[in-house]
C-alpha cells in the first residue's frame, strides 16, 4: 500500500500554476476512497511558505518542500533526480502533474527513473469498482478517448490537462504541515546549461492556461482585422488565438496558433470568429467547455461542433458583442 497521492505543485514566477489546484481538488475524493493522504510536492530554492498555504487551501494534507541551490531554475536533470529520490524514499502510490511543458517533461523522466506507469494529458481521474485507479485521456488528436489502467506499476503517474478539472473553492482556514527535504544534487548531475530565456508575449496569459479565448481565422481578412478581437478580449479578459489559416497568411505568429499542430487549449469559453472549424483546429480546442462560432458561411463545419453559433458578418457581430459585454461589465 502506497503512502499518499502526490501532486507536483508547479511554480510560476510569482505563484503556483493553477492546474495544481485543479488536481488537488479532484484528487480529494479519490484519496478518501483509497484512504490515502494528499501531499503536494514542491521543488525549488527558498520556497515561500505561502505556497504551502495555497496547496493546503485546495486540499493538501501535507506539503513537501524539496529544496536545493541547483533547483532554483527548472532543469529536467535536476528536478527529475530530486523528485525520483523522494519518490523512492517515500513510496507514494501515485504522483500527478499538470500536463504543462514542465509537467510532461518531468513526469516522463521521473517515471523512467522509478519505473512508474505514466499516462499523459488526462482529462478524467477515477477509481473503478475494484478500487483501481484509472484515467481517461484523448488519443488520435481527440478522435478516440481511452481509459488507461496501471497494472504492475509500483508507482502510478499521470499528467492532467489544464482547465479541464474544476477546482473547488479554496478554504484558507485549512493548513498543512510542511516537511522540508534537502535534495541530494551535485553540479555534475545537471548536464544542461540555460544560456538565456527569451520572453515573447509579455504579461499575457498563455493560450494553454487561458480561461477565455477569442480566436480568428481566414474570415478576419487581414492582420488588422484582429483588432476587433483584441478589443473584445480586453473586455472579457481573454487571450487572442488564431487558426492555422491566419498564421499561414502571416497575420499572427505560430505561437498563437490553436490547433492540433499548434497549441491545444481547453478554456471555459472559446469564441471562434471567421474560422471554418476543420478537424485539426477542433483537435486543438474541442475540449473547451463552451464554444461559440461566428461565421458568414452557414455551411462551415464549426457550426456542427459549437454550442452557440451566429451565421453573419463577424465585422458587425463582434463589435456589437463587445459593446454589449462592455455594458454588462459596467453593470458589474
Amino acid at each position: 500500500m502506497g503512502k499518499g497521492i502526490w501532486v507536483y505543485a508547479e511554480l510560476t514566477e510569482t505563484s503556483v500554476r493553477k492546474v495544481t489546484f485543479e488536481i488537488l481538488s479532484a484528487v480529494k475524493s479519490i484519496a478518501a476512497k483509497k484512504g490515502e493522504e494528499v501531499c503536494a510536492v514542491v521543488l525549488g530554492k527558498n520556497i515561500p511558505e505561502s505556497v504551502a498555504d495555497q496547496c493546503a487551501s485546495y486540499g493538501a494534507d501535507k506539503v513537501y518542500f524539496v529544496e536545493h541551490e541547483l533547483l532554483a531554475n527548472y532543469t529536467s536533470d535536476g528536478y527529475a533526480k530530486a523528485l525520483a529520490d523522494i519518490i523512492t524514499r517515500q513510496q507514494p502510490s501515485m504522483v500527478l502533474f499538470g500536463a504543462t511543458v514542465v509537467g510532461k517533461d518531468l513526469s516522463a523522466k521521473a517515471a523512467a527513473k522509478v519505473s512508474a506507469g505514466l499516462a499523459t494529458d488526462c482529462t478524467e481521474l477515477k477509481v473503478d469498482d475494484s478500487g483501481n485507479f484509472c484515467v481517461r485521456r484523448p488519443m488520435y488528436a481527440g478522435k478516440v478517448y481511452a481509459d488507461v489502467g496501471f497494472p504492475n506499476a509500483p508507482v502510478i503517474m499521470a499528467s492532467i490537462r489544464p482547465n479541464v478539472l474544476i477546482p473547488t473553492p479554496p478554504d484558507a482556514s485549512k493548513k498543512a504541515p510542511v516537511e522540508k527535504v534537502a535534495a541530494e544534487l551535485a553540479a555534475g548531475d545537471i548536464r544542461v546549461t540555460i544560456v538565456e530565456t527569451i520572453k515573447t508575449a509579455a504579461a499575457k496569459v498563455d493560450l494553454t492556461e487561458a480561461e477565455v479565448i477569442v480566436s480568428g481565422g481566414r474570415g478576419m481578412k487581414e492582420a488588422a482585422g484582429f483588432k476587433l478581437l483584441e478589443d473584445m478580449a480586453e473586455i472579457i479578459g481573454a487571450t487572442v488565438g488564431a487558426s492555422r489559416a491566419a498564421v499561414d497568411a502571416g497575420w499572427k505568429p505560430v505561437a498563437e496558433q490553436v490547433g492540433q499542430t499548434g497549441k491545444v487549449v481547453s478554456p471555459n469559453l472559446y469564441i471562434a470568429c471567421g474560422i471554418s472549424g476543420s478537424i485539426q483546429h477542433y483537435a486543438g480546442m474541442g475540449t473547451s467547455k463552451v464554444i461559440v462560432a461566428v461565421n458568414k458561411d452557414a455551411e462551415a463545419p464549426i457550426f456542427s461542433k459549437c454550442d452557440y453559433g451566429i451565421v453573419d458578418d463577424l465585422f458587425k457581430v463582434v463589435p456589437a458583442m463587445t459593446q454589449e459585454m462592455k455594458k454588462l461589465k459596467a453593470e458589474g
Binding site: A108, M139, Y145, A146, V195, I198, K199, A201, G309
Partner: protein, 265 residues
C-alpha cells in the same frame, strides 16, 4: 556527424479512427499510414546536419510492425542512409518505457553524436518515449526544440526550446536526445531519384532476442500502463444557431445567453 532519428509510423492525420465494437482497441484497417509528422522534422534536421558537416550517416530507428517499412523507406528517400527496424511480436503491447528500453538497447551498440525524436506521436499523443530513451541511455535531452546549432567540434549543441511565454536557449553536451517541435524546419519532399535509391538502402531487422533484455522488460509483460477501453469522443449537444433581424440583434442575444445560460462571461 552521425545522427539517429527515431521514427514511428502513425495513421494519417485525416484518417477515420473507429473504435472496435467491444471497445478493446481501435480499428486500423484501410487506414493510410504516414511518418509521424514530428519525427519528420527530426529526419530533416539530421539531414541538414549531415549536409552542414559534409559527412556522417543518418540512421533511422523504428520500433513497430512490418507496415512500418513503407515509412522507413520514405525517410530513406529523403536522404537517410540506413535503418534499423525493431519488429517482433514480443515487443508489441508495451508502453512507452518498454519501447524506449528496446530502442535504448539497440542504440547502445551504435555510433552516434545526436538523437532526434518527435515531440509526440500523433496516435497516442503521449510524449514519453524520447525522454525515457534519454534516461535509459544516460544522456541529456531537450524537448520542444525549434532551433538546433551543433558546435563545430561536435561536442555540444545549442538549442532553442519552447517554454511558457517564450523560448529558452539551452546548451547540452553531445550525445543528447532532441525532441522536435513544429517550426524547427520544413521537411524536404523526397525526389524521385531519392525514392529509387531508397529501395536499395539497408533496413536491418532486429528481433527481441537480439536485444538481450529480460522478457519482463519488454512488450506487454513489461508494460506499466495499459489501455483498458476505447471510446468515441462525447458528442456535443446540437448547436444553437442564434437568429435575429440584424447582426447586432443576434450579437445581443448571444451575449445574454453566454451570461445567463452558459454562465461563461
Amino acid at each position: 556527424m552521425n545522427s539517429i532519428v527515431c521514427l514511428k509510423q502513425v495513421p494519417d492525420t485525416e484518417a477515420q479512427i473507429r473504435v472496435k465494437p467491444d471497445g478493446s482497441d481501435v480499428l486500423l484497417q484501410d487506414v493510410k499510414f504516414i511518418i509521424n509528422p514530428y519525427d519528420e522534422y527530426g529526419v530533416e534536421e539530421a539531414l541538414k546536419l549531415k549536409e552542414k558537416f559534409g559527412q556522417g550517416t543518418v540512421t533511422i530507428a523504428c520500433l513497430g510492425p512490418d507496415r512500418g517499412v513503407e515509412s522507413i523507406r520514405t525517410a530513406l528517400a529523403m536522404g537517410a542512409d540506413k535503418a534499423v527496424h525493431l519488429d517482433d511480436p514480443a515487443l508489441d503491447g508495451g508502453d512507452a518505457f518498454t519501447t524506449a528500453r528496446a530502442l535504448a538497447e539497440q542504440i547502445k551498440g551504435m555510433e552516434y553524436d545526436i538523437i532526434f525524436c518527435g515531440k509526440q506521436a500523433i496516435d497516442d499523443d503521449a510524449a514519453q518515449v524520447a525522454v525515457a530513451l534519454a534516461e535509459y541511455l544516460n544522456i541529456p535531452h531537450a524537448n520542444l526544440v525549434v532551433k538546433v546549432e551543433v558546435a563545430s567540434d561536435k561536442k555540444k549543441v545549442k538549442v532553442n526550446r519552447q517554454i511558457v511565454g517564450g523560448e529558452e536557449v539551452l546548451e547540452l553536451p553531445l550525445p543528447a536526445v532532441i525532441t522536435c517541435q513544429k517550426g524547427l524546419n520544413e521537411p524536404r519532399y523526397a525526389s524521385l531519384p531519392g525514392i529509387m535509391k531508397a529501395k536499395k538502402k539497408e533496413i536491418k531487422a532486429v528481433k527481441a532476442a537480439d536485444l538481450k533484455l529480460d522478457a519482463a522488460q519488454i512488450g506487454a509483460a513489461g508494460a506499466k500502463s495499459k489501455v483498458l477501453k476505447c471510446y468515441a469522443p462525447p458528442q456535443r449537444k446540437a448547436a444553437q444557431i442564434i437568429d435575429g433581424e440584424t447582426p447586432e440583434a443576434k450579437a445581443l442575444k448571444l451575449v445574454k445567453l453566454l451570461r445567463e445560460e452558459a454562465k461563461a462571461i
